[in-house]
Amino acid sequence: MFPDKLQAVLDTFDLFPDPSDRTNMLLSYADQFREVPPEIATRPFDRSHQVPQCESDAYVWAMKMPDGTLTLHFAVENPSGVSAKALAAILQRSLSGLPAERIAAIDPSIVERIFRQNISMGKGMGLMSMVEAVRALARRAIG
């Protein structure tokens, strides 16, 4: 069972089997991507926030809020990292505001459901690695 906002994203993607529709949806998410604000992190970013095995050079931060929920932030340093930006925007919008426990339980297979034919080779690993990095931060926040 996915969190409501993430489930809604997955449901929407499921409604569009056509590759070009899905490409446009992913692109729309990539366009909405906003990188980590300067009050959270500035360049050069701390390498401990870098997503391993991601060729798009992605970074992720999880800020714990007073109510115990997490707010996610991302940076994607590779200008060609369109897919990484799309996924970052989806994760940021659908997971921020959830308790760490729920974020830690996200299944990385969502990458396959979201990207389907837009996934290839090393990119799939890099994108799943982004989800894993988010989960790892969530686990750390749980302590």
């Binding site: 992913l26 095995q53 060609s80 090393g122 690993m125 799943m128």
Partner: protein, 288 residues
């Protein structure tokens, strides 16, 4: 400052065109730009004006068998992008033109020799702040007549590679040093990259593909610089038969391109079965 292509001492400089040349030919009806990337979203996010997208999995590979498209498939592709036998195709893409060279190589299997690669690829074009668009061009369909795909000159198959290896001929492994050494089969917590054994084909020399590139702008190194790497450091001989390989034959098509056209190696083939075939082949000799 990158040297002009014609001043870099290449054996066949005509296969490379500069970003400037492409900018001057954006409206040339005899030129068709093809963008090929690893990231399938990249073209949609913005591409060179007039460029069409050719995807290596959807457009160049047979959708059932592990093989490339047939003559009919190639004719349909060329018809779709509005190309004729006389159209000059210019390939470019992400990752230092890795996929562009792969597409270029597949086009050579069909003998479309009016083919070029844009030196520096996307990264150079973007760094020069040249225009990108999301507008997908539509071209009137053409009647393109291709010959049957000919694999003999540019493509190596496993039995041939085995004989090549046994004869101690030149083999170039263009994967990362970790893949070559067999220390990296797959990344922690992630699925195996598709081979049951790690290592390299016995006798292969390790020359990671990106060594041919200037990392700051994605352009190819000069012939003298390439010669130092391939011929001096790694002792490869241009007249000797050579086979390049990687994981599925894409990175190695980049090295195939550099050896064949830039250094003038006389007989270079790309083994697209590569490690995903060799590393799974029962009884195939492996060196670590």
């Amino acid at each position: 400052m990158t040297q002009r292509i014609e001043d870099r001492g290449y054996a066949h400089p005509e296969v490379l065109v500069s970003t400037e040349w492409v900018a001057d030919h954006l409206n040339d009806t005899n030129v068709r730009l093809i963008e090929s990337n690893e990231d399938t979203l990249l073209y949609a996010s913005g591409h060179l004006p007039g460029a069409v997208h050719v995807d290596w999995t959807a457009d160049l590979n047979d959708q059932i068998r592990r093989d490339y498209i047939t003559r009919q498939g190639f004719e349909q592709l060329m018809s779709r992008i509005g190309a004729t036998g006389g159209t000059t195709i210019v390939f470019y893409g992400d990752k230092n033109n890795w996929w562009a060279c792969y597409a270029f190589w597949v086009f050579q299997l069909f003998g479309h020799t009016h083919a070029r690669v844009m030196d520096g690829g996307r990264v150079k074009w973007e760094k020069e702040s040249r225009p990108l668009t999301r507008e997908v061009p539509a071209f009137a369909r053409t009647q393109y007549q291709a010959g049957e795909r000919s694999d003999t000159a540019q493509r190596a198959f496993r039995d041939e590679v085995l004989k090549h290896m046994e004869a101690r001929r030149q083999l170039v492994d263009v994967r990362s040093p970790e893949e070559y050494a067999g220390t990296r089969m797959h990344m922690p917590d992630y699925p195996n990259e598709g081979a049951l054994r790690g290592g390299h084909i016995p006798g292969a020399k390790s020359i990671p593909w990106a060594r041919a590139i200037n990392p700051e702008d994605g352009t190819f190194k000069t012939a003298a610089e390439l010669r130092r790497i391939y011929c001096e450091e790694k002792q490869l001989s241009p007249p000797a038969p050579t086979v390049t390989y990687c994981r599925i034959g894409e990175r190695s098509s980049h090295s195939w391109f550099a050896l064949k056209y830039l250094l003038g190696f006389e007989d270079v083939k790309n083994y697209d079965g590569s490690w995903t075939e060799w590393g799974n082949l029962v009884g195939a000799p492996i060196e670590r």
